[in-house]
């Protein structure tokens, strides 16, 4: 029953899409491939940016969920640590040697709080808070495990998701954290998610300017109470240069910059061009598997290997064909000139990289047309 357990012997085509040394065109499709040159260049660019601007970067691992990539971001890209969205994601990455993790989210389930505090025995653990009751629960659990947990108060600086209102509500929570045994008040979490994908440059900047002023006002109130913020965190791939220039934020949390995706590439820069500092490094590698109509081809990449929440994928390097729609295991491609043949390979730029990665178990790293490495997606499916 080897095939039932995917963690036993790797078999190409059954539980792994490729092997090292294989030619790119022999990779079993559909597979997630990483252009290693482009990926490494993206990590280096972000490293240069933070060096030049004197700001920390805590890379968001929710994008890739891979211990190999997290290590690369820290060792080669100057990241001070990582963000995770879930406790189980953090556990999987700490087990692989990552030692500085922030959960950019609330942890409220008592069993999860217990696991979170247990994790602090092995690694620096930081968590976000937007509720007073949660502080008591975390403090009790920190006592049980004899650890100290660093806490950030999350403020809603315009995203309309989690977080208390900026100003006094945040100060009240910060004071409660500071006076709770086993907890350390470490600062503020102020991430503006929707702003990342606002395509227009000045609209996007306006949202972060507004967020930064709310953060700044809250920091002043905290300082007046004698509470200092070691971390003022936020920012993503669409806005990091605004937070960096704000003189308020001191820790960026970009994730998608390593891979990029079709939706981020609809975001515009100051000159009304699509943002282009980072290259596409992540692709869904797919084969044409049916072509019975002259102008429509079908590929083997559908919903089970991608997420279309931010739109459909874009065919990389081609303006003669278009990905039109998808079913569970099929993608429908417009081929008006009938140029595609069966078993032709295409690279699709995912509409949204993060949830696309979470559908796969492996990254196939490719350089100069050859498979150079296979990275397990360590925390795939770790949504707890």
């Amino acid at each position: 029953m080897n095939a039932i357990n995917k963690h036993t012997t790797p078999v190409v085509g059954l539980n792994i899409p490729a092997e090292i040394g294989m030619a790119e065109e022999d990779i079993c499709t559909p597979a997630l491939i990483v252009d290693l040159d482009a990926f490494e260049n993206n990590v280096k660019l972000m490293g240069n940016f933070i060096n030049k601007n004197g700001i920390r970067h805590r890379a968001h691992a929710k994008t890739h969920k891979s211990a190999d990539i997290a290590r690369y971001q820290i060792e080669q890209g100057g990241a001070c640590g990582i963000c995770c969205q879930k406790v189980s994601e953090a556990e999987a990455l700490v087990a692989e040697g990552i030692t500085d993790v922030m959960i950019s989210n609330q942890v409220v389930d008592p069993r999860k709080i217990d696991r979170l505090t247990a994790l602090a025995v092995q690694a620096r653990v930081i968590v976000c808070i937007d509720d007073a009751g949660n502080i008591d629960a975390l403090s009790a659990a920190a006592g049980t495990h004899n650890v100290e947990i660093e806490c950030l108060v999350e403020i809603d600086c315009g995203a309309g998701r989690c977080g208390v209102r900026p100003g006094l509500p945040a100060v009240q929570l910060a004071k409660k954290i500071a006076s709770s045994k086993g907890l350390i008040f470490s600062g503020l979490q102020a991430y503006h998610g929707p702003a990342q994908h606002v395509h227009d440059y000045s609209d996007r900047k306006a949202k972060i300017d507004e967020a930064a002023s709310k953060v700044s006002e809250t920091v002043d109130l905290l300082n007046a109470e004698g509470l200092s913020c070691e971390i003022i965190g936020g920012a993503g791939t669409g806005t990091y240069y605004f937070e960096s220039a704000s003189n308020v934020y001191n820790e960026l949390q970009c994730g998608s910059y390593i891979f990029m995706d079709a939706d981020y590439q609809r975001v515009l820069d100051e000159e009304q061009n699509y943002i282009s500092e980072f290259e596409n490094s992540l692709f869904i590698y797919t084969s044409i598997m049916s072509h019975t109509k002259p102008d429509i081809a079908i590929c083997d990449a559908g919903l089970k290997v991608q997420s279309v929440d931010s739109g459909l994928p874009v065919v990389f390097g081609r303006d003669d064909i278009t990905y039109l729609r998808c079913a569970d295991e099929h993608g429908v491609i417009a081929d008006p000139k009938g140029v595609l043949k069966l078993n032709d390979k295409l690279k699709l730029i995912p509409g949204h990289c993060d949830p696309t990665c979470n559908a796969h178990d492996w990254y196939v790293g490719v350089r100069n047309g050859k498979v150079e490495c296979l990275w397990p997606i360590t925390a795939r499916g770790m949504g707890l």
Binding site: L14, D109, R161, S290, H291, D309, G383
Partner: protein
């Protein structure tokens, strides 16, 4: 107090096997009464245990979408498998040949190129491979476009030493099923006029499953989603809420305002596939609450039209719009029967997309 709530970390997927088994048995009874063979599509559940249950209920075999899915099912002891997907490329053809030694295997083809690949791979096989011609009866995906093309491919398949033509297969639209039948019967007659026997006529789909017998000449039906159903099936009127076996359990993690609740389930478990619905699923505890937006790990519930005021830490259950893609997001599901949770079952074919 049931054992469903408060015992498990969320988000997670629960499947009520009492409900799933009732769904399996009800469709098995329908097929029996209409004289149609049932060949359920396991892409929905990807679980050997339910595939076996479907066979026990009378299914003649199962349908898989991918070879790697079929390999998992063959290793788990399933004997008769149809792969309704063109197999393209040498590596996959080699695996297909190996798989054919382990089960009764049949596949589909919709072009000469696909047939040529199959014929080369099976040229010296011990037994010929059954091949059905896939027909596009209106869905606009794969399949030959008309009866003449079906005749041509049937003839080519029949002439190949390693292959055996075994009929026509379609994944139809949920429209007047007699039109689908007209298409297929016309093709069948034209094929038989050339002296080739047509074998099976295989139709599929859950939205149209209770009208499977309206497809004239149909010999088997491949339903997949029916084992769990989902909110899109409820909206099409195919089933009731109480027939839905799969739910996603989530916890309220933030209550920023009176009219907003945040849960810990987003697109990484419920997926982005909305299937034309207004929200992202049906909340069992509060049908009038609106799960209006998903981020990766957050779900945003709009409480404007409900008196329901959930607290932080409360657990809720959601019937997703599309069950098949949710199964593929988790490594294991929680099995329960009513309020009794039995244990976890690995989703053996999860991520087997090759």
């Amino acid at each position: 107090m049931t054992t469903i709530y408060g015992q498990r970390e969320t988000p997670c997927v629960l499947v009520d096997f009492d409900v799933a088994e009732a769904n399996i048995d009800k469709f098995a009874t329908y097929c029996k009464s209409k004289g149609i063979a049932s060949r359920p599509h396991i892409k929905t559940h990807k679980l050997p245990v339910l595939a076996h249950r479907q066979v026990t209920a009378g299914a003649i075999g199962i349908t898989c979408q991918k070879i790697s899915e079929a390999e998992v099912m063959a290793d788990a002891g399933i004997k008769d498998i149809l792969i309704t997907y063109n197999i393209v490329g040498e590596a996959k053809l080699k695996r297909l040949l190996e798989l054919s030694a382990r089960c009764e295997l049949s596949v589909v083809a919709d072009s000469k190129t696909v047939i040529e690949g199959l014929a080369q791979a099976f040229a010296s096989a011990d037994k010929p491979l059954d091949v059905l011609v896939e027909c596009d009866t209106g869905a606009g995906r794969c399949g030959v476009q008309n009866a003449e093309q079906a005749v041509e491919l049937a003839t080519i398949i029949n002439d190949k030493p390693g292959l055996m033509f075994n009929g026509l297969m379609t994944y139809p639209l949920n429209v007047d099923q007699s039109e689908i039948g007209d298409w297929l019967v016309d093709a069948k007659q034209k094929i038989e006029m050339t002296g080739v026997s047509c074998g099976q006529i295989s139709s599929g789909g859950s939205p149209n499953m209770w009208r499977a017998h309206e497809v004239e000449g149909v010999t088997e039906h491949r339903a997949g989603t029916y084992v769990y159903y989902d909110y899109s099936m409820v909206s099409y009127g195919v089933c009731e809420i109480t027939d839905c076996a799969l739910t996603v359990m989530a916890t309220i993690v933030s209550r920023p305002t009176d009219d907003r609740a945040i849960i810990d389930a987003g697109t990484k478990i419920l997926t982005s596939d909305q299937l034309g619905q207004k929200g992202f699923g049906h909340i069992l505890e509060a049908p009038d609450a609106w799960l209006k937006e998903l981020n990766e790990e957050h779900g945003i519930i709009d409480l404007c039209n409900t008196n329901w005021q959930p607290k932080i830490g409360d657990q809720i259950r959601i019937i997703p719009n599309h069950a098949c893609v949710v199964s593929n997001m988790v490594d294991a599901i929680w099995v329960h029967r009513g309020d009794d949770v039995i244990g976890q079952e690995p989703v053996a074919a999860r991520g087997h997309v090759w």
